[in-house]
Symmetry: D2
Subunit: 278 residues, 4 copies
């Protein structure tokens, strides 16, 4: 039975990798629909993403690839099917709304298991789309206790990614570790950057001409994980800082959706603190 | 005799300013060719740039405007003529070269008094354009002694602006103060920003997807003065950090030239630590 | 009673216009919150948008302005309140969805009277937001007969603008004329442009690197009316034409929303076949 | 002796191509420094660019690759060395000047054999850089006679590419055919496009908000060859059409230099009327 899979391999670089891997495909008479590689010379790391089609047994293919790749290689054979995501939000609707509309149009490439928020503001919007909404307030709870409640909720679902659609709370290292390489965040940023409270106000005070948005994997360092996508929106002296915020939101929602599209199609490798995107 | 002038006024905001100023123009039967105002509500500051033409005496016009504007108002009546600039550089030719080509094509809107550099690398390039080049090395000199030599050189010229075309030395507060609102710099920057040595290497290590360039007035805080223009160049994981540097240079030269064009046409007001650009 | 209004004036250019208009404000002791003018020298046309606040009677102010402006001047004194829009759509949800989300978040600056579509596809989405949806199919109808039905529907509402959110039918000159300067459209475009069927396929065949989106007022010439906003999205050889279409949609929805924001805040003047945007 | 080469292969797609080609590298114990492939599914065409290093004989490697590739395959093994270009210009200096500055800084990746122009305007600029300049006026000559003179001049050099740096004359099919896939041009363009004389004036009259620039290979259809790079510059209603022209020039020079960088590093495949860029 003809089928299709995305083969993702990342490992130490070694001579003959392309040859040995393509040999595995060749011997099984598989078609290569797309194939991209990248070698990070500095770290001596090899990345390869191949879409193959033909008659194959996924487990057998995986076993054969393991035989030719270095021992520590990270190999995945993924049969395309819609991923599932969980969304965390707070009060702002722009990033969440953009995902909901794409989902409703069948263009997200993922189903949405549920939306969890630490405020009840977005309930009506989410429920309009017949998606479960859970209000888990953080009031009077320690960070750990709050996250425990969230984990109890999301762990009733199977899911591939947690999307922070303007979730305005910092996650503990414990939470981040529990979902390594699975949490995706969006944040605005500026040229130059501003540290501390209300960066839009600071950017306004400095008169920046550009507002940026960055989508990234979440690691322990707040807003410092591997970058997936970035873009900028031009602003000028006639923008109030509220106008800047509004402009920043457009950037955020588009960049988050672009990042999700890449991640959900298995086009992103994490390479230390950066990404390789095919 | 029909002539034309740019009238620039910035002052405390007050009721009737537009009326009182336009009355001055009206009573002198002047044409208003372009007119733009901006009020910074937060700081209660008023900015106005008007290009007028007609028969007028510049000193008389200035006097009349002073009578209707608040006492501390900063008023300029500038008859358009090419400005003069002094350029400071080090070794890199991209920003300097772009200025030289525009100058040779008669498109810079300024003449170049001279180029001063702390290395001799750029002499041949500058002298190809018949522009005086002065090599003032910093070796074995204190920062103050080096700047003293530079000042002795540039002060033999009259000039409107000092353009730092990738001048890679930090200026002392004394130097900056001596040429307040007259020094223009360009620097690259990143989303997010990176502090410390070799930011391109750091940006590469973080895998940024965008490189920015910022042209600004120089104040005591390094790279922190009022921003005139900004732009970004997209990069990706296939860029080495040298490739990123090359991409950043394209951004820098275009942004510096755009900023110079604004400044040389008297379109930029400094408003605290930001700018109003008409 | 303190109130605020946007004063919009466009007319033949004439000496003393700024003086005479600002005198009207001054004599009524009005504050000028923002003020922008532009003179199109080529057409000798004057444009001015002033936000004033204070105690005034709208009709009296209008009368006073008419006395000082040229006879044919087009003068509006608009007290800010949410505008009302009617949306026409077909099957695609991206532009419509973006408007609905902004509306639900209270960020649109307009209420939505209803959505009319020539297919029933978008009913569920629109009704999720409790907005009236009318399905007016075009099957077996002449263009005129179909538009008659649409007009019967929309004319039961009062509204300021008709927004074509990917409405895929050409409007007759009669319809366009009935709503002069009130219809806003979005379309994608390419560098270079492609005429005829399926421009995305043509752009794909030509290997364009950029997809553009243009929001504009609708005039008799299809897609040729005064441009309000434009933006571009980069693409490359790995994009299928369906990917290009998806990229184009992101551009379209952002540009349409940006254009709506400008129009709904009365920031756009139509100047022949172009716009002046303050 | 260790050396390095760029291997470029384009041919009909076939099963096992990656395997068979990588086998050739593997059997010769070559390192793969970078490797990228692309399959155009629609045209069933395969493209591969591999940088290999190691001990190899170029002719032997080429022969081995020919044995495993389809019969009509286009295979090149290119040892990196600076390419040589010939530049054709008219009067405008921006695109030419940018190339000269990069060349002087050692960043062009090519030497410049000579510059030929149909006006004498640019002589001083070119000769400042000690590059041969030939003035070949077109006056009183048929297009064919003029091109004959140009060909006599450039054919005294060996060169890889002819760069049209704002060469304002149309080339005959004969000329284009004589240098197939070797002529690179830059032109501005608009959203939407404007046909006929003075497109900047037309774009101004239409009030475009964006000016684009396109670098492409020259084919018989004027400005219609495979696109290498594109970019845009934002403009607005305050730009005169001369300002637009100036903005367009910035776009043109940056895009031409970016395209040259890609072409000179053998990163561009021509694929019918489009390009594949690695």
């Amino acid at each position: 039975m003809e089928k299709r899979a995305r083969v993702l391999i990342d490992c130490e670089d070694a001579k003959g990798l392309v040859y040995n891997i393509s040999k595995v495909f060749y011997e099984r008479d598989l078609n290569i629909d797309t194939n991209r590689e990248f070698v990070d010379k500095e770290k001596s790391k090899f990345f390869m993403r191949t879409v193959v089609s033909g008659n194959f047994d996924t487990q057998e293919l995986l076993k054969a690839l393991r035989l030719v790749a270095p021992k520590e290689a990270h190999i995945r054979v993924i049969e395309p099917k819609d991923k599932k995501i969980v969304i965390l939000a707070t009060k702002e609707s722009h990033a969440l709304g953009d995902i909901l509309i794409r989902h409703a149009a069948g263009e997200l490439g993922a189903s949405i298991a549920c939306v969890i928020a630490n405020h009840d503001t977005l309930r009506a919007l989410v429920e309009r789309f017949d998606i479960p909404f859970f209000y888990i307030p953080a009031n009077d709870l320690t960070r750990e206790a709050h996250e425990k409640k969230i984990r109890e909720c999301i762990d009733t679902y199977t899911f591939d990614y947690i999307v922070l659609a303007k979730y305005m709370r910092i996650l503990t290292p414990t939470f981040v570790k529990a979902y390594t390489e699975k949490i995706i965040n969006i944040h605005h940023s500026f040229l130059p950057a501003f540290i501390g409270a209300n960066p839009y106000k600071q950017a306004f005070d400095r008169g920046v001409k550009i507002i940026g948005a960055t989508a990234h994997y979440v690691t322990d360092d707040l807003d410092e994980g591997p970058i997936i996508a970035q873009d900028v929106i031009p602003v000028n002296h006639r923008f109030s800082w509220k106008d800047m915020q509004r402009a920043g939101r457009d950037g955020e929602k588009i960049v988050l959706s672009r990042a999700l599209d890449l991640v959900l199609h298995d086009r992103v490798f994490i390479n230390g603190n950066k990404t390789v995107i095919f």
